[in-house]
Every structure is written in C-alpha cells, then in structure tokens.
Symmetry: C2
Subunit: 361 residues, 2 copies
C-alpha cells in the first residue's frame, strides 16, 4: 500500500549541488531574477535543461506567499432576456472550488450586454485591482480591443470565452466554432424537412457586434446547403422584446408562407416558439435555436422547440479558469483554441446534458 516515491525528479537541491552553487542562486535563475553573473547563469541553465527540471508545484505553491487573482469579465445574468451566462458562471465557480486550495482566487465582474458603456467602466474597475489573469467575454469588440491593449502592457494574460477576437494574442479562446454549428443546423434541417422546404434564419439582437457573431452561424448554414437549391431567407430583428419579435416574425411568415424550418441564431428561440405555439403552427415548422437556458429547455421539453444547439457553457467557464490556472500555476503551455463540442439537445436527451454539473438530474 505504501512505498517510497520514485526519486527520479531532481530538485533545486540537486541542481545546486551539480553547479556548485547555493540553492538561492538556482532559484534566482529559475525565476529570472537579477543578481547572477552570466557565466553561472548559463551553467545553471544548462544543468536545468540537462536534468529536464520540473519544479514541484506543491512545494512551490506552499512556499509562495502569493495568491493568484483571476478576474472574470462577463455579461450580467439577466433572467428576463436570457440566463445563458448562469452556466459559465457555475463552471467558473466549480473551477475555483477545485483550485482555491492552490492559492487561486476568482473575482467576478459583470457588465450589461445592453449598455456598452458599462463594459468600459467594468474593465477600468478590473485593472484597478491587482490581477494576474483575466477571463473575458469580448461582447463589444472595440472596447475589448482597448481593454486587452492595457492587459498586454501590464503583461496580464487573458482568455476569450464564448466569442473570439482573432489575432489578439490571447492566451487562448474557449467557445464554439460558430460556422460549424450553423453547418450542423443545416444537417438537422435536411434530415427533418422535405427537400425543398424553405428555411428562415432569424438573427435577433440589437447589438451590432453580437450580430457579427450571429452572422457566422448563418454562413455555416448556407454553406451546408450550398449545392442544393434549398430556399433560404434571412430576417434581422433588432428589438428583443416579445411583441417586436412577434410582429417581425409574423411579417416574415406572411411573406414566405412556405417556411418549414426556422433557425434562430441565438438563445432567443423561446420567444419564437411562443409565437408559433400561439399560432398553432409549432408542429408544422421545425424550430432550431441555441443555448441551454431554462426557458429554452422548458419549451424543448414541451415540444415547442425541436433542437437546441449547445456548446457546453458551464464547461467553457470551467476550462477558461483552468486554462489560466494551467498557464499561471502549472506553467504549462495551453492550446490556443478550445472549440467546444457541438451538442444537439432534444426533448429526449436534455435531462442528461452535463447533468453532473448542475441540478437537472
């Protein structure tokens, strides 16, 4: 049951012995601190490479008096519009629970998705505190770019979650591949509707950045039907309240009476389903949308929504924090992109969707 651990891994002590220096000196070169002559420094570095020295994380965290502070910058959870962000937040908390033993602390900051100014205010707030890493949902592109410029100056690593801003040298991106998820929706529609049934794409959002986000999904869908002559129409709805959605939707359906499938490019699909149910046409039109929100799941369960495409939101939060942790504590390189699986949720399987991370089972 109990045995001595294999003494394979060498420590600073062995390095110091071989280099004929003190442990403190080895420590200095490991942390790239000044006070070491170039000669001894290179000698020690050579030995470190030779022994393939791997610092003992436990001892390191134990001896270190620091605590790592991670900040999350996410949209406020608004139960009225969509509670999508509750799940990433849950994942973040789970991650924090796991690693707080290791001296990591997570401090959440929230901005208002309907108020781009709030984003700037919150990010300014973040940088006032001492922070070692940032998890960011870059909902507003311009403001985000400005923010991460500051981060770069301060040498604070940041990871993007849920939507990406490419070429911004983030530590990594964690979230969906938007194009492929639209492509996936295309496949579901092809399987479940007649060959030439019309498809209606609905982008429901009043923020322009977010809109760009939705566009990629639409592109994916169109790419799937590229070679077929499937009729596809698109409708942008800029007001996200139920009444406006219904009005616009009604107009669109009047104009195209042959619509047999609706692809809502975000989590507002519940509002659409309510309209279809009211009109008694929810069984005639295939309805596909996004995200595992409470309301969406409820309406999926009642049969008013056919498919929900999800991207493991709580896992995104969990991995976002863990990526920072891996980078800052474990000092291991992290992959640049973590595309989440494209999960297809139905009435039948929703109860089992990541059931161990929350209370649905």
């Amino acid at each position: 049951m109990k045995k001595k651990a294999a003494e394979q891994p060498f420590g600073v002590k062995e390095i110091a012995r071989r280099a004929n220096v003190a442990i403190a000196t080895v420590d200095r070169v490991i942390h790239n601190r000044p006070g070491v002559s170039p000669k001894t420094k290179s000698k020690i570095e050579a030995i470190i490479r030779e022994l393939n020295y791997q610092p003992n994380i436990l001892a390191r965290r134990l001896a270190s008096r620091h605590i790592l502070r991670l900040a999350t910058v996410l949209p406020k959870v608004s139960s009225q519009e969509t509670d999508f962000w509750t799940l990433p937040v849950a994942g973040i908390q789970k991650a924090e629970e796991e690693i707080k033993q290791f001296g990591v602390k997570v401090e959440p900051f929230y901005f208002d998705l309907n108020d781009r100014k709030s984003f700037g205010k919150v990010t300014k707030q973040v940088l006032k505190n001492p922070v070692d890493g940032i998890l960011l949902a870059p909902s507003f592109i311009e403001e985000s770019v400005a923010f991460i410029r500051s981060c770069k100056e301060l040498n604070i690593p940041y990871v993007f979650i849920n939507s990406d801003i490419p070429q911004q040298e983030s530590l990594c991106y964690i979230g969906p591949d938007l194009f492929r998820s639209g492509y996936q929706a295309g496949q579901l529609i092809r399987y479940c509707t007649p060959r030439n049934a019309r498809v209606l794409v609905l982008n429901i959002s009043h923020e322009i950045e977010d809109h760009h986000h939705l566009l990629r999904k639409e592109e994916g869908l169109r790419a799937y039907f590229q070679d077929t002559k499937r009729p596809i129409v698109k409708k942008d709805i800029r007001q996200t309240d139920q009444a406006s959605i219904e009005k616009e939707l009604s107009k669109a359906l009047q104009q195209h009476a042959d619509v047999r499938a609706i692809f809502v490019t975000n989590s507002r699909v519940a509002a659409v389903s309510r309209y279809l149910e009211k009109k008694g046409i929810d069984k005639d039109i295939l309805l596909i949308g996004y995200d595992f929100t409470k309301e969406n799941v409820s309406r999926l369960d009642q049969g008013h929504i056919d498919f929900l495409i999800c991207q493991q939101p709580q896992e995104q939060g969990y991995r976002g924090i863990m990526a920072l942790y891996q980078h800052l504590v474990m000092k291991v390189p992290v992959e640049k992109t973590h595309f989440m699986p494209i999960d297809i949720i139905t009435k039948e399987n929703h109860a089992f969707y990541n059931c161990d991370d929350h209370d649905y089972c």
Copy 2:
C-alpha cells in the same frame, strides 16, 4: 499583483497550541492513529471541529512519502473488433498526467473481452500489487462481483466505468444511462423516418453479460415508441465476424423488407453499414449505432452511417481516475453516479467531438 494570503485557515499548529499538545499528537488524531489517550483525543477533535480544520493538501502531499497507486481493469483494445477502449485509456492517461505531480500513479491491467477467464486472472494479478484504488469495467458480472468482494475486504475503493453493477457499494459509477440512450435513438428514428417505417434492432455480441447491457438500450427504444404502433423487430447475432453478421442481417432483411431504420445497440454498427453499402441500400435505411470508434467515424463521414450515439468515452476514463483522486487525495465526497451526456454524432459534427482530447482536429 502580490499579496499575503488570508491567514484564515488554521493548521495543526494552531490546533496544537489551543489543545496544549504537540503537533505530533494532533497529527495522530487526525489520522486516527493509536497512542493518544481518549481524553486528549476528544479534546483535540473538538477543537478540530470548532476550527473547521481543513488540511492543506499541498503540504500533505509534499510531506507524505507515499505514492497512491491506482489500478485500471479494462478490456484490451482490439483494433479488429472495436477500438472503443482507446479513448477511455486516453482519458485515463490525461488524468494521470495531471495528477502525477500529486503522487498518484496509474497502473493499467487489461483483460480479454472474449475470454472471461482472463478477467479472473487479471484481477488476481491486481490484488497482488499494493493498490489504493481501482477503476473497473465490470464486463463480466459474476467475476466482477467476486473481485469487488475482495476489494471490500481489503478496504480498497473501486469505481465502475461504462457499465454499472447496481447495489455494489462502488465509490461511484461513471458511464451512460443505457435506457435513455435507446430512448434517444427512438427520437432520431421518429424524426428521420416515415411514421410507420419498420425498425430493426440488432444486438451483436457473443457474451451474455454484455447482452444484458444491450438489452437496456432496446428497452429504451421500445419505450419511446410505446404509444405508437411503430413496427419493431429484434435480431440477436452471436457471431461478431463480418460474414456471420451479413448472413444474419440478410436473413432478417429478407424476412422484413419494410425495414427503414436499423438500431445497432453497440459499436459493431460499422459492419452493418458495410453490408448495406454493398447491397446499395445504405441510403434507404437509416442506420444508428454506438461509439466513436475510428471505423465508425470513418463510415459516418462517408455517409454510410447516419448517427452515432456516444457517451464521451475519454471523459469517462478521465473522470473515473479523477473520482478516485478526489476521494483518496482530496478526501471530498464524490457523487454516486456520473451519467455521461448522450451525444449525437453526425457527419457534420464529429470533427468537433471532444476534439481537444485527441488528434481528430
């Protein structure tokens, strides 16, 4: 950036001080070792409760000279039959990589799924070594029950993976909910075939235990169609080579020419798809099967299989090890069952299925 950690958590030192004893004595009661009088023991225990003492895992692992040995008992990977188990093994390795820093070592043992005697031999082998925890795929029920009886006597915790033996006081079960996955298959079939198209259920396996395993899926499928008058036929195939499968399958299809959907209750679906392709009827019959094996994915990609139902095999391995780790190292209670999500894999999304855990993307 750097600050003193909150000194909130009390350690053994503080406990010793308050109890007017030495640290060693506190350590003795913490580990329930002999050599402490009942009086001082209860006094120390009271203080521990009062302070809500949480041991520092890092210091504990650092100071401990022990290494934890976990054994995995899984089916051998046979590329000929099915390489299903490569993914759980990958997950296990990933977990080991993550926690070997903490003094955990994983030692794999493999048995032959086609030879129940090998199971007994391997498990005997396992108990010869010193082992602190076991991850077990209980493919052979009787033998497994005997094995875990020994484990219980030796007080070694064990977790079941991929298939469960209920009421066996395992630390936990990690794997699919078989019934619900069959139910899910029903839903896919309803969506993708005409209302009264016949469904053929294929159980392809020559081991009886395994068969019982498959039966639950069939039950799920039938449960889905319970109220409808959907015609369903079932065929058991006891020989798993391609020729036997084709012979039996051909017989079944001759007998029921109106079959429009085939539900293969395990990963042998590729063999079926090969037959359908050969006969040129792979486009006429909806084919649903299980598991993300290389061959299955390849044939899914070529359009010969329509859906694969998967249960995150690598995640199962990962979580299995982590559950033991959580229990043995972190000493936190683990949930009794981890039902994995029921993932629906298609030509369109397979490339994104847990792509960060292996090399498919």
